[in-house]
């Protein structure tokens, strides 16, 4: 992995871009050299602000954690440090991961480096923007319902959500534990393969982390789609809005066929597809409301005064969470009420199984599924909003299938429309990251992406 900048320079570059991008929450003032000579020796790395780093403020872009300084490192921070990397900044995100625009951050919206009037996407928007602006070659994110892959597509970088359990979640401020996945942003596939090699592996601190040995993804990388069955997710790609996106997507399909891939069309019942977003929101909101019950201003975080401990909690949580987050906690809590679980939370968990079964069935016909990451480019900041509940368009939310199933899934840039990037999404069955990287590396050769954003670190 190569870095344009040293750690110190990277921190400065991020600082310099703050007025335009507002992508960082905390910038390390004077990053210290890391004596470890691992595969990431000297590489500056950005962490999403929900990744605990000992002694370095970590807020998850929430006011309630504004003063939180972790006393422990997330497992992946130890892994990065052991590999020689240097943490240079904590990046902006939607508060506690809850959002897809990166507008809902305590520090305000992050801006898209290609056009700062547009959103980065979220919730890992800051990491996506800082990778796109070439401040660092690697930024860590988390993906609960496309929170890495969507911003990666909007910002024209590679976003990888590995298999659930491939990378330890210990030390990552959660959103929804059964969907949360640690992943990352890079600007090329070989870097992504190397990053996963460093980050993956069993961690006894995370009982859901996998015991499967970690392959040498980078060394074994063979850019090829030869003989691979690639399923084109027609239910989604049929809904691409822009002609230039449609054209680029279809051209890629043809190029893949020419490169030796066997193309098959795969589809899913739209009735089921329409359930993706509601099922996702029901499960995610419910798990989130419990996961964030620890944020009460008692043992850490910002405490607001009150006459009783109940008042302290209530005042701290009212002031500490945005209106949007509190609304989602109410919805999540409601779906967990005993009287509602059967028709909401548990029902969503059952439909999740039906969705996963249907999604798995698609892989009986193919090794990988190719889809557009989104059917349009990043919207304008002022025109975007997070739908709090209710139905979203499934073509915008389909990547949540990989969170339901735990499957590894990545997005990579395909082209530009109106000066903004759009991307593709490639997904493989569980723990088949090598296969995913091999195909993605071939696609990378085919696309030969050379575009640069307007906001570029100098």
């Amino acid at each position: 992995m190569n870095s344009k900048f040293s750690a110190k320079e990277a921190a400065k570059a991020i600082e310099a871009l703050q007025p335009e991008l507002n992508a960082a929450v905390t910038i390390v003032e004077d990053p210290q050299d890391n004596p470890n000579q691992g595969p990431l020796a000297g590489i500056p790395v950005v962490l999403k602000d929900n990744i605990n780093s000992k002694g370095l403020r970590t807020t998850a872009s929430s006011k309630i954690l504004d003063n939180y300084v972790p006393v422990y490192d997330a497992t992946i921070v130890e892994k990065l440090t052991n590999a020689g990397a240097v943490i240079v900044a904590k990046s902006s995100m939607d508060e506690l991961g809850m959002g897809g625009t990166n507008r809902n951050a305590a520090t305000g919206p992050a801006a898209n480096p290609w056009n700062t009037a547009h959103i980065t996407g979220g919730s890992s928007g800051g990491s996506a923007a800082l990778t796109a602006a070439e401040t660092v070659p690697l930024a860590i994110g988390t993906d609960t319902g496309d929170s890495i892959r969507k911003p990666a597509a909007y910002c024209g970088v590679i976003g990888v959500k590995p298999t659930y359990g491939r990378i330890s979640r210990y030390g990552i401020i959660p959103y929804a534990s059964s969907l949360d996945t640690v992943g990352f942003f890079t600007r090329n596939i070989p870097d992504a393969a190397l990053a996963l090699e460093v980050l993956a592996g069993r961690d006894d601190h995370d009982m859901t982390s996998s015991f499967l040995p970690v392959p040498n993804y980078a060394e074994d990388l063979k850019p090829s789609v030869e003989g691979k069955n690639i399923g084109v997710f027609r239910t989604v790609s049929d809904r691409i809005v822009r002609p230039e996106m449609k054209e680029a997507f279809e051209k890629l399909v043809k190029d893949l066929e020419a490169a030796g891939a066997k193309i098959v069309d795969v589809t899913m019942d739209e009735k089921l597809m329409n359930l993706i977003a509601p099922v996702y929101k029901t499960i995610a909101n419910a798990e989130a409301t419990a996961n964030h019950s620890n944020l009460d201003g008692i043992r850490f975080g910002v405490r607001k005064p009150g006459a009783s401990v109940e008042e302290v909690m209530t005042n701290s949580r009212t002031a500490g969470f945005s209106s949007y987050v509190r609304a989602r906690f109410v919805i999540g809590s409601y779906s967990l009420f005993e009287e509602n679980q059967d028709r909401l939370f548990r029902k969503a968990q059952k439909i999740r199984r039906l969705l996963v079964d249907a999604y798995k069935a698609l892989f009986e016909k193919c090794d990988l599924i190719l889809a557009p990451a989104a059917v349009d480019v990043a919207p304008l900041i002022e025109e975007s909003s997070d739908v709090r509940f209710g139905q979203d368009r499934f073509e915008e939310e389909h990547m949540q299938l990989a969170n339901f199933s735990g499957y590894p899934s990545l997005t990579m840039p395909l082209g530009l429309a109106d000066g903004l990037p759009f991307g593709i999404n490639l997904t493989a069955p569980a723990f088949e990251e090598q296969n995913l990287f091999d195909a993605a590396a071939k696609i990378e050769e085919i696309i030969d992406w050379k575009e640069e954003p307007a906001c570029l670190a100098k």
Binding site: N52, V71, P174, D206, M207, A290, I298, R299, L336
Partner: protein, 473 residues
């Protein structure tokens, strides 16, 4: 007709592990505040639970000891509520799949033995400890995350005595199995007792819960007081309010802590951070098969093998350390009943007086056994035994003490007769006096005999033989 009392009991026991249920921080009692915690116990953001194998092992032992069916697939759930002693805002427990189900424990009642059914045993984590003072509440998180088992009975008890017997039986069992310290006074065992009264056994009355009981004696007193209170209230036409009460020792009454308004919705759902854990059946079997002797097994063994009364056996078995010591003593003596008396009586009293208990008992079982044998065979008197006992408790050898104090009694007829006749031969004057009706002479002669035996003659026997020999002269 009197109202039927129905009692169900929930007991929380801290498991005797080195570390917490879900973290590597040490479990301790009485450590300096907030020195035995990890980020997991404090509910710091990003932390994840990791299940302690030893806690599972101890829970399995509890299940086996209480005759429960063990579920080899361990699952956890979240119980959601906000309280300052609950760091995560939820407690990890086993709501939907308890590790143990459908067991029982045998209790002693006035009408003999009775089984109280156990509905479930589940693992969970303890909360932090709060100290309420005028200046506010002070929180110590050392206890947060300590492994617990909660044992829930069926509503099978119908009197204060049965409730106390149940708590005692559980306490004894868990102590015998080395599952828990079961110290009610330190809170390592806590019970919540639900009591309701009704004329119709099919239709239970309003439940009242009693919490914060610190001894088994208080369990009985509190339940009795609550039964009386409820009876009086119902007699007066009052309604019983669903509530939580505590026992107030000075007034010997239960007092209201809080009313229960409706049922709290804890929004239980499966813990997403812990995959279901499949326990190895061979491991479960090895734990179950190497279980320590249960108290009820020991009780019947004591009655059968040592011929002890049910009362003596129960007193011994209730205190495992006392029973252990008794068994050590019995390796060196055959006087089972006498040994039981000494252990339950003099030794217990001595320990008590010295602020000790059987867990910290300095007595050498072999020495105590020897002392008991010496008394049993008449080598020393019971009274002398008490003197020897005091010395033995200071570490002395009983035979040595007896020798030093010259306590060995000469009871052998031949030896005594020889001594007596020698004394009589040497004191013709006294024989004369005796024959002249001077009874004082007997006293003098007896003194001479004791002197000749260096005080070791069995006085009763010597006196009897002296009288006999005098009459022959």
């Amino acid at each position: 007709m009197s109202r039927e009392v129905t009692i169900g009991i929930e007991i929380h026991c801290e498991l005797k592990t080195k570390t917490k249920m879900f973290s590597g921080a040490p479990v301790s009692f009485g450590a300096q505040a907030n020195t035995n915690t990890s980020v997991i116990d404090l509910g710091h953001p990003g932390t994840l639970p990791c299940v302690n194998r030893e806690a599972v092992r101890l829970a399995i032992k509890a299940c086996a000891g209480l005759h429960c069916t063990i579920d080899p697939l361990v699952k956890f759930d979240r119980k959601n509520y906000y309280y300052s002693d609950l760091p995560k805002g939820f407690q990890i427990t086993q709501q939907f799949h308890p590790i143990g189900k459908d067991g029982y424990v045998t209790i002693e009642t006035e009408d003999g033995k009775k089984n109280v059914r156990i509905e479930r045993i589940h693992m969970e984590e303890d909360t932090a400890k709060q100290f309420h003072k005028d200046t506010g509440t002070y929180i110590d998180f050392n206890r947060a995350g300590t492994p617990l088992v909660e044992i829930v009975s069926r509503p099978d008890m119908h009197s204060a005595a049965e409730a106390a017997a149940y708590v005692e039986a559980l306490r004894r069992t868990l102590f015998y199995l080395n599952v828990s310290d079961v110290k009610m006074e330190e809170g390592s065992m806590r019970c919540d007792i639900n009591i309701s009264l009704s004329y119709d056994p099919e239709k239970l009355g309003t439940k009242v819960e009693i919490k914060n009981l610190n001894s088994i004696a208080n369990v009985q007193k509190a339940v009795q007081a609550e039964i009386e209170r409820q009876n009086a209230a119902l007699d007066a036409g009052e309604e019983i309010i669903q509530s939580t009460r505590r026992y107030d020792e000075p007034s010997k009454q239960t007092v209201l802590m809080r009313k229960k308004e409706g049922t709290v919705d804890y929004k239980y759902f499966p813990e997403p951070n812990i995959f279901p854990i499949r326990l190895d059946q061979a491991w479960i079997d090895s734990i179950v098969n190497s279980l320590e002797e249960l108290p009820e097994q020991r009780l019947s063994r004591f009655e059968k093998d040592y011929g002890l009364s049910s009362y003596d056996a129960t007193v011994l078995v209730n205190d495992r350390d006392m029973a252990d010591f008794y068994e050590e003593v019995m390796k060196h003596t055959k006087a089972a009943k006498k040994a039981a008396n000494w252990v339950i009586g003099d030794l217990s009293a001595w320990l008590n007086k010295n602020g000790l208990n059987f867990a910290k008992n300095p007595a050498d079982p072999k020495a105590i056994a020897r002392l008991i044998t010496l008394i049993e065979d008449g080598s020393i008197s019971g009274k002398q035994g008490k003197v020897v006992f005091e010395e033995v408790m200071k570490g002395a050898d009983p035979d040595q003490v007896i020798k030093e104090k010259g306590m060995i009694q000469v009871s052998d007829d031949g030896a005594l007769l020889e001594m007596i006749n020698k004394v009589l031969d040497e004191n013709p004057k006294s024989i004369e006096d005796f024959k002249n009706g001077k009874n004082r002479a007997v006293g003098f002669l007896m003194g001479q005999v004791m002197k000749a035996s260096k005080g070791q003659a069995n006085p009763k026997k010597a006196n009897q033989l002296l009288t006999q020999e005098l009459s022959k002269r």
